[in-house]
C-alpha cells in the first residue's frame, strides 16, 4: 500500500484502491464480485448496461465507471440493489428474443448466468417485445443472431480498440439503438474468425456465433455449470 492509495468500504469490508481505479477494479482485486454485463476485462469501460449499479454513499452509480474515492461506503450485495439489477436483466430478456432452450450459448451465456445469480425465477411483470430481427449468416466462419444481442457494445470496443478494425458500431437512438455491422452484411466487412471481437469471451450472449463449434462442449459441462458467474473473482478472496 503506497501513500496515495485510498481506502473505502464495500458492504462494510475495507478495500484499498490505487488512485484512478474504478470501484469495480478495486473490488475485483479484493475478490469482491460486482455483477456486470457490458464491462469486460481488457476493454474500455462503458457504463452502459447498469447491471453493476451499486450504492455509493446512498447514490446509485455504475461501479465500472465510477472512480473509487476515499471513505465512500459502497453497498453491493443487498436485496434492494440486487432487485434493481434483476429488473434490468429481466428487461434485457424481454427486449430481445432470448430462448435459452434453443441457444447454443446456453451455459456459457453471461446474461443467462446473471439471471441465475440474481434469481430471476418469479413470474414476470413485463411484456415481451418480441422484435423481428434477421440472422446474418453471410460470413463463412461467423454468424450473427441479433435476436440475442443485448447491445452491450463489447464487440464494438474489441473490434475498434483491440483488433483496430471497426467491424461493429451502434446505429439508431433510444430504444432503437442497436449494434450493426459496418457494411452490407458481415461477409462484406473485414471480420475474421481470429479477431478478438469474435472470440467466445467477448460476446456475453449467443449473438456472435463461430460456426462449426457450437456443441463441442455439451450442455451441463459449460462455463457456468462450474459455478455462479463471478466465482473466479470471489474465489480470490477465499483463497
Amino acid at each position: 500500500m503506497s501513500d496515495q492509495d485510498i481506502t473505502f468500504t464495500i458492504d462494510g469490508v475495507e478495500i484499498t484502491a490505487k488512485p484512478g481505479q474504478t470501484i469495480m477494479e478495486a473490488a475485483d482485486e479484493a475478490g469482491i464480485y460486482i455483477p456486470r454485463l457490458c464491462d469486460h476485462e481488457g476493454l474500455r469501460h462503458q457504463g452502459g448496461c447498469r447491471v453493476c449499479t451499486v450504492k455509493a454513499n446512498g447514490r446509485s452509480v455504475a461501479a465500472c465507471t465510477q472512480p473509487a474515492a476515499a471513505g465512500i461506503a459502497v453497498e453491493n450485495e443487498n436485496t434492494h440493489v440486487n432487485k434493481m439489477r434483476r429488473d434490468l436483466v429481466e428487461m434485457l430478456f424481454h427486449e430481445g428474443n432470448h430462448l435459452c432452450p434453443i441457444c447454443e450459448a446456453s451455459g456459457n451465456c453471461e446474461l443467462q448466468a446473471m439471471a441465475y445469480r440474481l434469481e430471476m425465477v418469479d413470474p414476470t411483470r413485463f411484456p415481451y417485445l418480441e422484435p423481428c430481427r434477421a440472422v446474418d449468416a453471410s460470413h463463412p466462419d461467423i454468424a450473427l443472431d441479433t435476436n440475442r444481442c443485448i447491445s452491450c457494445g463489447r464487440c464494438i470496443r474489441a473490434s475498434k480498440d483491440v483488433d483496430g478494425k471497426g467491424v461493429f458500431g451502434y446505429v439508431g437512438r433510444g430504444i432503437h439503438r442497436r449494434v450493426a455491422v459496418n457494411g452490407e452484411d458481415l461477409a462484406h466487412t473485414d471480420a475474421d474468425a481470429a479477431d478478438h471481437a469474435m472470440s467466445d469471451e467477448v460476446c456475453p450472449v449467443g449473438c456472435i456465433i463461430r460456426k462449426r463449434v457450437g456443441f463441442v462442449t455439451p450442455i451441463g459441462e459449460r462455463e457456468f455449470d462450474k459455478g455462479l458467474i463471478g466465482y473466479e473473482i470471489e474465489g480470490k478472496r477465499r483463497g
Binding site: D122, Y128, E130
Partner: protein, 189 residues
C-alpha cells in the same frame, strides 16, 4: 388416528412437449415418498380428464398457443389454490414462442402455417390445405406464457427441470418451507 389429509395435485401439458411430465417421472423411486404426501387428481399421469374436486397444487407445463390451452389454464386457476408453471414453455413461451417473432413477417402465424403445410420444401400434403376442421382448437395469434393469461404463483425453470429440483420444490412447498431455489440449480436449458 386418522391419517392427515393428502394434498391434491393436478397437472396438465399445454403447448409443451411432455418433457416436463417426463421430468416429473424422473423423481424416480422418490415418487413413492411423494405419493405418501399427495394424491393426483386430473393429470395425464392418471388419465383423469376433469377435476374431481378442488386441488391444492396445479402444475402447468407449456404456454398457450390455442384457445383450448387458455380454457384449460383458466380451469386450473379456478380449481387450484397454488399454480406452478413448470419449464421454459410455461414460463416464457419456450420453443413454440419462436413463431411469434423469428419469422420476419407481418403475419407470422400465417407464414408459419404456410411453410408447415404448403410451401415447405419437404412437405407431402396432397390437399395443399392448412388444417381447418372445426374440431381443432383455434390457434391464437401468438403464443403466450402462462403468466400473461392467469396469475401464476411459482415457476420452476428448466428445459426440462431436473427431477431433483421438482421433488425438492414440491416437498418443500408441501411442508410450507419453500424459500426459493439453490442458485446453482436454476437452469433455463
Amino acid at each position: 388416528m386418522a391419517e392427515p389429509r393428502k394434498a391434491r395435485i393436478a397437472t396438465t401439458s399445454l403447448a409443451g412437449c411432455f418433457g416436463c411430465h417426463m421430468a416429473i417421472l424422473d423423481i424416480d423411486e422418490r415418487l413413492i415418498e411423494l405419493m405418501k404426501l399427495v394424491e393426483i387428481d386430473r393429470s395425464p399421469l392418471t388419465d383423469i380428464k376433469r377435476f374431481t374436486q378442488r386441488c391444492d397444487i396445479g402444475i402447468i407445463e407449456g404456454g398457450c398457443c390455442n384457445e383450448e390451452n387458455v380454457h384449460v389454464l383458466r380451469d386450473f386457476r379456478r380449481n387450484c389454490d397454488v399454480l406452478i408453471a413448470i419449464g421454459q414453455c410455461a414460463i416464457m413461451g419456450g420453443l413454440p414462442v419462436m413463431r411469434n417473432a423469428i419469422m420476419h413477417s407481418d403475419a407470422p402465424l400465417r407464414e408459419c402455417l404456410e411453410e408447415a403445410y404448403i410451401t415447405g420444401r419437404y412437405i407431402r400434403n396432397t390437399t395443399h390445405d392448412i388444417p381447418n376442421d372445426p374440431a381443432l382448437p383455434l390457434l391464437l395469434d401468438e403464443v403466450y406464457p402462462c403468466s400473461e393469461v392467469v396469475e401464476i404463483d411459482y415457476q420452476i425453470p428448466g428445459c426440462a427441470p431436473t427431477g431433483d429440483v421438482i421433488y425438492e420444490t414440491l416437498t418443500s412447498l408441501l411442508a410450507g418451507k419453500f424459500h426459493g431455489f439453490d442458485r446453482m440449480h436454476i437452469k433455463f436449458d
